[in-house]
């Protein structure tokens, strides 16, 4: 299946779930592929489009923009699609860094080759600053594999131990194979409408309580602080403020985990734990099955799937948890925080979902 057909397949599933036809959709948002490609392919005549394409969190940002557009009366029913032939590369345009761009001039000549060589660059500084150990970070992969074991759709479900992580093939020190996301094909779609309109759909809707977004830099070397993401801090705080909730209200968290340090930065930059304490928090099993703050309950990009841009799949897991239909369902979960990254700490989007209208 080509990349655009992955978008369409997901869109058809989402429209069926909501009992809608293409003629019922008046807003389209997507990333990498353009809204005109998706709208034309699906036979939609939109009155509102959003082609925000800032990497894997683009879909969180689409949700935020679509909610604002619906509230402002610009459109009524928005379809957000993602599809990516990350593994097969069928109908998937190559990514390249132009040699005249700033990254092309001031990063590419020094030997990076895609996210595995760039995204972990801040990690050693983070570890030294807070005394975080390789063993603690290895537990991110271990715990998420435990969640993946509960998800029949997950790519990797067999249990692993910290020593398996620390003995896996070195990719870009300090990170090894089991600390890097897998690479799959995939797709997903969401439909957004007003709460009043969604009440008429055949399946249970979930509610958007608060949203946030930001960007920082297209060059990881130019982050303000290697121990914290400014884009995470802005997006997260904005979403919590909009939702009017506190961290203690949160039952479920998704933190986009292209690489194993992202849940650490996410937990700290969103304010769930103090700076430097996320490694211990995860190693102490707080985010594991049975822990007090379940994180990445689908197994995450490290064990479930990851097509290159993962944000849509994190959103889908939050939606499933709020609908009460997730494979690893958190009992009585009422509020889910879904946090995404784009590029290498380049962008961020945070969506706070609820299972009821506040």
């Amino acid at each position: 299946m080509s990349q655009i057909q992955l978008h369409a397949d997901a869109a058809l599933n989402a429209m069926e779930d909501a009992g809608l036809k293409p003629s019922d959709i008046d807003g389209v948002a997507t990333a990498v592929e353009t809204p005109q490609q998706i709208a034309h392919y699906l036979g939609i005549t939109p009155a509102w489009v959003d082609g925000t394409s800032v990497g894997g969190c683009s879909f969180m940002i689409h949700v935020r923009h679509a909610a604002a557009a619906i509230s402002a009366g610009l459109c009524k029913t928005v379809l957000i699609t993602h599809g990516e032939s990350g593994r097969s590369r069928v109908g998937n345009p190559p990514r390249s860094v132009p040699p005249s761009s700033l990254a092309g001039q001031f990063e590419q000549p020094f030997g990076p080759m895609g996210p595995p060589s760039l995204f972990p660059i801040p990690v050693l500084r983070y570890m030294k600053t807070y005394g975080v150990t390789h063993e603690q970070i290895a537990m991110v992969s271990v715990v998420q594999r435990e969640w993946a074991a509960r998800n029949p759709r997950a790519t990797f479900r067999d249990p692993i131990a910290a020593e398996d992580v620390l003995n896996s093939r070195m990719i870009a020190y300090p990170f090894r194979l089991l600390q890097c996301c897998l690479v799959t094909d995939g797709g997903g779609a969401l439909i957004l409408a007003s709460a009043e309109r969604a009440a008429d759909f055949p399946h249970k809707p979930v509610y958007i309580l608060g949203t946030g977004e930001s960007v920082e830099t297209p060059m990881v070397s130019q982050m303000e602080d290697f121990t914290s993401s400014r884009a995470f801090r802005v997006a997260g705080a904005t979403a919590f403020r909009a939702a009017g909730i506190t961290h203690g209200d949160v039952d479920h968290v998704m933190i986009y985990d292209a690489f194993a340090h992202l849940p650490l930065y996410g937990l700290e930059d969103l304010g769930f734990v103090p700076r430097g304490e996320a490694g211990r928090f995860i190693a102490d099993r707080n985010t594991a099955p049975g822990g007090r703050l379940p994180v990445n309950t689908n197994g995450g990009g490290l064990s479930y799937m990851h097509s290159g841009m993962y944000g849509m799949y994190a959103l889908q897991e939050s939606v499933r948890q709020m609908r009460g239909i997730a494979p690893a369902q958190i009992p009585d979960a009422k509020i889910s925080v879904c946090h995404g990254v784009g590029g290498m700490f380049a962008a961020s989007g945070t969506i706070i979902f609820g299972n009821q209208r506040l």
Partner: protein, 136 residues
């Protein structure tokens, strides 16, 4: 056939002074005339205060090792494992680079070790700023 080479930067009018500098053995940064902010990568205005009045100056070439990865996969122009480093210049900005004349190991590449710029000629137009340990 020539050996595959590392990615070659393509200067723009806004960055040409930097590449002219490295070709002439200078690591050039920019300083805002209005607020004294020193910044990198190059642009003809200050990213802190938006003043268009900025000056190019030769940096000391002194830096410390801020963070790095040691990449183990093949990339044209590199023999793995090799470090992709970010250094913090004495003047404040950070830049990506490679550390030369040094084992590419966690034992040798210790965060915060002092470094000195070393100029690596790619061709007649492009010279890259690399770094070596200050003792080396």
């Amino acid at each position: 056939m020539p050996e595959p080479a590392r990615a070659r930067p393509q200067p723009t009018p806004e960055t040409q002074h930097f590449w002219d500098g490295t070709r002439n053995g200078e690591l050039r940064l920019q300083r805002c005339d209005a607020c004294a902010h020193v910044y990198f990568p190059p642009r003809p205005f200050c990213p802190a205060c938006a003043s268009r009045s900025v000056s190019v100056f030769a940096a000391s070439g002194n830096a410390i090792l801020d963070s790095f990865v040691i990449h183990h996969r093949p990339v044209p122009g590199f023999t793995p494992p090799y470090a992709i480093a970010v250094v913090k210049l004495a003047e404040g900005p950070r830049m990506m680079t490679n550390i030369i004349d040094c084992p590419q190991t966690p034992e040798a590449l210790v965060l915060d070790i002092p470094l000195k710029v070393a100029f690596h000629k790619m061709d007649d137009e492009i010279t890259l700023p690399l770094f070596r340990t200050a003792q080396a």
